[in-house]
Every structure is written in C-alpha cells, then in structure tokens.
C-alpha cells in the first residue's frame, strides 16, 4: 500500500553507498547499454531539424521556424526547434553536446522514475528496480540513440516532473508544488503533443491514490488547457485523412494496443538477434504479462490502487498513438513503459519479500524480461551507431572534398539504400553551404524506393549532364563505399556514359547551363530566376502520354495582383494555359505533352509568365524561381 493510501513511507535512511547505488546504478547502466547511442552521430531527420532557421532573415522568419507546424503537423519548439537551432549554432555538427543534453535529461528521468516509483509503492527499491527495468526496455534505442527523438525524452521529463510536483503537493499540502506542476505541464507542450495526456494522469493519480476531492478538482483546469491545445493544434496543423498518419477509431485500436503491449513487455518489433524457437518469444511475453497483470490484480484486490494507476499511466500515455494504425513505431512505447516498470519493480520487491517460491519468480521474470529486450537493444543500437558513422564519413568527407575543390560540384558514386535515406535525403550538405552534391547516374537502381519519404531522382545527376560536366572539369567524382571517400574522377570519366538529353533538368544547378536559353539569370545556388520568358532543351518523352512537370517557387510579390498566368510551349506548340494561384509559396504545374514530341531525341520548352516584378533590393525583372523541369 502506498504512503498516500495509508501505508508506510519508503525508508529514506540509508548509508552513503546505498544511496550511491540507488541513484547512480540506473544512469550508469543506461550509459553502458546505450553507449553506442551516446557515441553515435546524426542521421536522417536530424539534418532537417539542424537546418531549422538556416535561411531565417528576420525575427518573423525566426518565429515561423520556432512555432510553425512542420512534418506531420508537429509543433515542438523546445525539443526540436530550439534544441537543434541552439545546438547547431553553438556546436555545428558535433553530436556529443547534443547527446550530453539527451542523456542528462534521461538521467533526470531515471531519478524521477525511481523517486516516483518509491513513493507510489511505498517501497524504495521498487522505484530503483522500475528505473532499471526502464533502462532495459528496448524501446529506448531511438530516443537515446537518434537525436531527433529527443522529444520523447524531454516530454518524459515534463510528464514525470509534473507528476512529481503533484505528489509533493499531495504529500505536503504546500500550494507552491501545485503551481510547479502547472509550470512543468505547460512547458511540456514545447516538447511533444503527447503532453496533452498529463491531466488524465493527474486525475487518475488523485482519484486512485490521493483520494481527496479537492486534489481531483485541482486537476480539472489542466483538462481545459489540454482541450484548448488540442483545438488550437487541429486548427493550425493539417489533419491526415489518409496515409500513415491518418487516425482510425475502429476495432483496430485494440489490435494496436496488443502490438504495443508485446513491444513493451518483449522486444520492439518482436525482433531478436538470436533465433529462438518460434514459441519462445510469445511464451516469454505471455509469462511476463501474466506476472505483471496477476500482481496488479492481486494488489488491487488487496486495496493497492496504485497498481491501477501504473496501468492507467500506460494506457493514458499510449492512447494518443493507438489510432495511428498504419504508423506503428517502436519508441511510442518508450514513455508508456514507465507505468509497467513501476508495476514490475513493485512486483519484484513484493515477490522477493514473500518467501522462497515468489522470490524465484521475482528473479526469473525480470531475467526473462531482460533476456528478451537487451539483445535487441544492443543489436539495434549497434546498427544505429554503424549507419551514423557511415553518414558521418560521407558528410565530413564531402566537406573535405569541398575544401579541396571549392569550385567544383561533387558526384557521389556507390550510395546505397541505408546511406541515401539516412545521409542524403535531408540534404545535410546545405548545413555548411553546399547545394550541388549529386548521386551518380544509375544510383537509383541501388537504392530501394520509398515514395512516401522522397524522390530519389531529385538527387541523381542525369548521365548527359554528368558527361558534360566531366568534360568541362566542373565535377569531381568520389566513391563512398570505403572507410574514406575516394577520388575516382579519372576512372569515372573514362567509363562509357549513356547519351541523350536528360528528361529531368534541375535548372538551379550550374551544371545544366548548357541546356538553358540565354534568357535565364545566373544560378543563385539552390535556385535560378527567370525573367518574363525563358527556354531550355531537354529530353522528349519516350512514349505518348507522359507529362511535363514544372516545379519552383512563386514569391508573394508576384501574386499580389492575383493568379499568375503561365504559358508553356513545347517545340512551338502551345500547351493548355495554366496559372499559379496564391497559397503555398511552392508550385508544381503539370502539362500533357503533344503526341508528336514522343520518341524525339530532344524538345525545346519555353515558359512565359504574365508579369514580372522588381524588388527594391534587386535590379532585375523577376518572373519565377525554378526549380526543375521533368518529363515522366
């Protein structure tokens, strides 16, 4: 029975060594098991967040960078925007300071888990074991090993911190703790949307453990804030109707809950690096689940309602992701698992004290839990570390190439699936000012496609452009497959290259200048302006029915006078009229191509806009910003 239910307070008298063990073992174990995570580098989404605010020109841009909804409508100013912006401005692409912040936060979380566990159960060592069990859980790999998942760790800190202050408030009656709880709760919205569940946690605690109406009433204003946040969030962030982030409020909720339960009690994705008999993993999960739920039932029967609170924590923190039927992610159980870890710590200590038979279970079940989760943790952390090291070799190698050949564009040969999605997709090179980094023609054959994540073709330099650039010595080629990037320009230049004009022209690239008419302005790095009219040559469609796509940016100044007419001709044939309408700054125009150009070696495309503008800072008459032209 917890102290708040009339049980004894956890013993706090302990020796210096015992205190040291109590507080230091969980973080040290965490550091030992997640050492690969601590020493890993950046990858994938990290680079997108590191680039937050890269192009900010004024305070308005800064505010947009910090608060505007980003990927999947997320608004996480503390854990993503400010964390990466400040970190990158201070330390650049040094990962260690980021990791130190992540692990320092997690160490604070472990202390809070231990402290809260002890106070919830009335058993000091139950809190200790809860922290240890949480460390052993395999769902911690990404929050601790992948910097961009810091939002989970920081959200945990605010949820646990708010609950800590609520318990202090209930224990002491001192009002200041109530307000500290509010501060932690409000700050939590800067970490992760998941923070909206805190009022449910607080209400569950006050109902089940504190059992005084005034404490419960004190949680009601928290609900108002969560509801207001949810309303605001759904107003400013897109709601996904389809795809991975679409919500499904159907019977699938229970299936998803079942999946997440197995990932919490057993290894995430039910993946183990060893090959046990088929029955072993389900049996192990069933045995640990039976132990946990059996203990909870027994405790509740005996009046220990804190056991229900542990389960309530699990369900409340997991609830927001249960409707995401098609986007099941291993770290979604990272924070919910804390509830089961409290229950497990409690069961282990209670079992240890309950005689020989249960003592055996108190040792065997945690051992089984560790046996299922830790190998997965170590193996996956190793994979994560290895890929970040490959990404580091690539990114720092490209920086080295640029230092050696500052005037040349860079072509990368040998990029494979893992390296592309983790080290190229999010354009890490722009973080240090490099825009013209390309994949060698044919790279797309080596990279598994994920159209939902990005288009590989956007990164590949067409064969004809490559050949031209090599001929003019505008390009250096490096093989990325070894421990160092290797200059293979001479070898690569001697290889036979496929001919034919490209069907995708990146107009911004300085290498495609030979395809552009004389009207175009010079490349501005990652974009190129056109005046009122501009033309280019490109590959014609192989077969009838293919379309021409124009992608670029239309500045607000151009749309002040209404939609901007865009006229396109192909080999002198006018295509149906189009217009860019006010709204998003980027545009994509799609044109059906005339049948007679199909099969031709090349075609000439002209684009003309209805008007131009001249900004105060630029003497040029500006039409549109490109972008790319693509036939597909």
């Amino acid at each position: 029975m917890s102290p708040l239910e009339g049980g004894s307070r956890p013993a706090v008298r302990s020796g210096k060594w015992e205190r040291a063990v109590y507080w230091l073992v969980p973080p040290l174990l965490c550091l030992a098991l997640h050492w690969r995570g601590f020493t890993s580098w950046f990858r994938a989404d990290d680079f997108a967040w590191l680039g937050t605010g890269l192009y900010d020109r004024n305070f308005h841009d800064f505010l947009v960078s910090i608060f505007a909804p980003q990927a999947q409508g997320t608004i996480r100013p503390l854990s993503e925007r400010a964390f990466f912006m400040l970190g990158f401005s201070l330390f650049g692409l040094e990962a260690l300071p980021f990791k130190m912040v992540v692990f320092a936060t997690e160490f604070a979380n472990l202390a809070l888990v231990a402290s809260l566990g002890a106070r919830l159960t009335g058993l000091r060592w139950a809190g200790f074991l809860a922290a240890v069990f949480w460390v052993l859980n395999s769902s911690g790999i990404e929050p601790l090993g992948w910097t961009c998942v810091y939002n989970q760790v920081l959200c945990g800190f605010f949820l646990l911190g708010a609950l800590h202050f609520l318990l202090r408030y209930v224990e002491t009656g001192e009002r200041r703790y109530y307000w500290w709880q509010w501060a932690a709760f409000l700050a939590g919205f800067g970490a992760l949307e998941l923070n909206v569940v805190y009022p449910a946690i607080a209400a569950a605690y006050t109902l089940l453990c504190a059992r005084r109406a005034r404490y419960f009433r004190g949680t009601l204003p928290l609900f108002a804030v969560s509801l207001a946040y949810a309303a605001l969030h759904s107003a400013v962030a897109p709601v996904w109707k389809s795809g991975g982030y679409a919500m499904h409020f159907t019977g699938s909720l229970f299936g998803t809950l079942g999946t997440y339960w197995t990932w919490t009690v057993g290894p995430t994705f039910l993946f183990t690096p060893y090959v046990p008999p088929k029955w072993a993993l389900p049996a192990g999960i069933a045995v640990v689940s039976a132990g946990l739920l059996g203990f909870a039932a027994w405790k509740v029967h005996a009046g220990g309602r804190a056991a229900l609170f542990c389960l309530a924590w699990y369900l409340a923190v997991l609830a927001p992701v249960l409707p995401l039927r098609d986007h099941q992610t291993e770290y979604y159980v990272f924070l919910p698992a804390i509830g089961l870890c409290w229950l497990g710590g409690w069961a282990a200590v209670a079992g240890w004290r309950a005689g020989a038979g249960r003592r055996m279970a108190a040792v065997a079940l945690p051992a089984l839990y560790a046996l299922m989760g830790v190998p997965t943790l170590l193996e996956t952390a190793q994979w994560n570390h290895a890929i970040t090291m490959r990404v580091r070799t690539l990114v720092e190698g490209v920086a080295g190439i640029h230092e050696r050949h500052p005037e040349k564009s860079i072509l990368l040969e040998g990029v494979d699936t893992d390296l592309f999605w983790n080290g190229v997709l999010d354009r890490p090179f722009r973080l240090f000012g490099l825009e013209h980094i390309y994949l060698a023609p044919g790279s797309e054959r080596r990279i598994a496609a994920h159209p939902d994540l990005g288009n590989i073709a956007d990164y590949v330099l067409p064969a004809d452009v490559t050949a031209q650039a090599l001929q003019h010595e505008d390009l250096v080629v490096y093989d990325v497959r070894g421990e160092r990037l290797r200059n293979i320009t001479a070898t690569y230049a001697a290889l036979p290259h496929e001919g034919g004009l490209p069907r995708r022209v990146d107009v911004a690239s300085p290498l495609t200048g030979y395809l552009l008419g004389p009207e175009w302005y010079a490349s501005d790095g990652d974009h190129r302006w056109m005046p009122r009219r501009a033309s280019l040559r490109m590959g014609a469609p192989e077969t009838p029915g293919q379309k021409l796509y124009l992608r670029g940016v239309c500045p607000e100044e151009q749309l002040g006078a209404g939609p901007l007419p865009v006229a396109v001709t192909v080999d002198g044939v006018a295509l149906p009229a189009a217009a860019i309408r006010p709204g998003a700054p980027t545009f994509e125009l799609e044109f059906a191509l005339p049948g007679q150009v199909a099969g031709k070696a090349e075609m000439r495309v002209t684009v003309e806009v209805g008007r131009t503008f001249r900004p105060a800072s630029d003497p040029r008459d500006l039409g549109l910003v490109f972008g790319s032209f693509e036939v597909r």
Binding site: G400, E413, R484
Partner: protein
C-alpha cells in the same frame, strides 16, 4: 523569510548566474567553430583496370550494374544482366584483345534452372553465348576485335537466359558467380 530559505534562494540565483556566464563564454567559442569537421579523403585516384578481380572493392566503379556485394573476399553473385567497363590493354587498339570471365555455376543454379546460357555484348557487338549444363568452374573467353578497343574503356553487357528469382531465402536475383572479368592482350 527564514535564513535557510534565503540561503537556498541565493544558491539558486548563484547557480543560474554561473550557468548563464558559462553559456555566454561558450557561445561565442562555439559560434567561431566550423560547422562541420573536414573529413580526410583518399585522393590517390585509382587507374582504370583491364582485369577486375571481384574481391577488390576498388574495382566497384567499373562494375556498372548487376553485381551483388563481395563474398569471401573473392567473388560476387550477379543478377540476370550485369555490365562492366574495362580498360583496353596496351596495344589492343591494333591487335585486339581477349575477353575472359572466370565464373562458377553453383550446383543450386543447375538444380533450379537445369542449365544457364551466358551471352555478351561488347561495345555494341554481340558475342556468341555459351551454355552450362553442369555445376562447376568455367572460363568464358571471346575474341574482341581491335576496332572496339580504341577508346578509354569498353563497355561489356552480359546477359543470362535465366536467373533465380528473389525468394524468402534470398531476396536477391541470383545468376552466376563471377571471380574476375577482364581484357587480356593477345
């Protein structure tokens, strides 16, 4: 306010001031740093080779397509179609050269496909195919006329008439095993 509380509050203020001072000192130091470390690169440009040993990772740029990763530091599985680029050996522009492919047809290929034929196309000229009906080690040899060997490199496209489709046991398309491929002087 008691002395204890006052002391606590002073300690907190001191801690905050210290942290802000550290931040102010560290921030400019950090800002002056380069945004990224400059990694070392291998600038010793490898020469294009006439003979490609499949166990040598340095030949990868000349394996245009259709090869899987190195196995046993010696060989590679191919797909149904595979292509290499080879440097014509010295004098080949006048005397011609010999295309040589050391390969293995593994028993599993014969078990599943019964037999397999290998054909090649060098610089646009078709070379006669060869059929293998039993598992074992073979050398595919074809004469290459001098007229095809005047450039910096010769592209050779190989094609098998059949290959093992990806399966649960191996998600790769598997053709034959190649140990080396090259152009030899006559």
């Amino acid at each position: 306010m008691t002395n204890t509380k006052w002391r606590e509050r002073r300690a907190v203020v001191r801690l905050c001031c210290s942290l802000m001072t550290i931040a102010l000192v560290v921030a400019p130091v950090g800002c002056k740093r380069k945004k990224v470390r400059v990694g070392a690169t291998d600038e010793e440009t490898p020469k294009m080779m006439s003979v490609l040993n499949m166990g040598d990772p340095k030949v990868e740029p000349q394996l245009i397509k259709g090869f899987h990763g190195i196995e046993a530091a010696a060989w590679r599985w191919t797909e149904k179609q595979f292509t290499v680029a080879l440097r014509p050996p010295f004098g080949a522009g006048t005397k011609g050269a010999r295309l040589t492919v050391k390969l293995t047809v593994p028993p599993v290929v014969i078990e599943k496909l019964k037999n397999v034929s290998l054909a090649a196309n060098a610089g646009g000229t078709a070379l006669p195919p060869e059929t293998y009906t039993t598992a074992g080690d073979y050398v595919y040899v074809r004469e290459i006329p001098a007229s095809l060997l005047t450039g910096d490199s010769l592209r050779v496209d190989f094609e098998l008439d059949k290959a093992m489709a990806p399966s649960g046991a191996d998600i790769r398309e598997l053709g034959i095993i190649v140990l080396n491929a090259g152009l030899e002087s006559k």
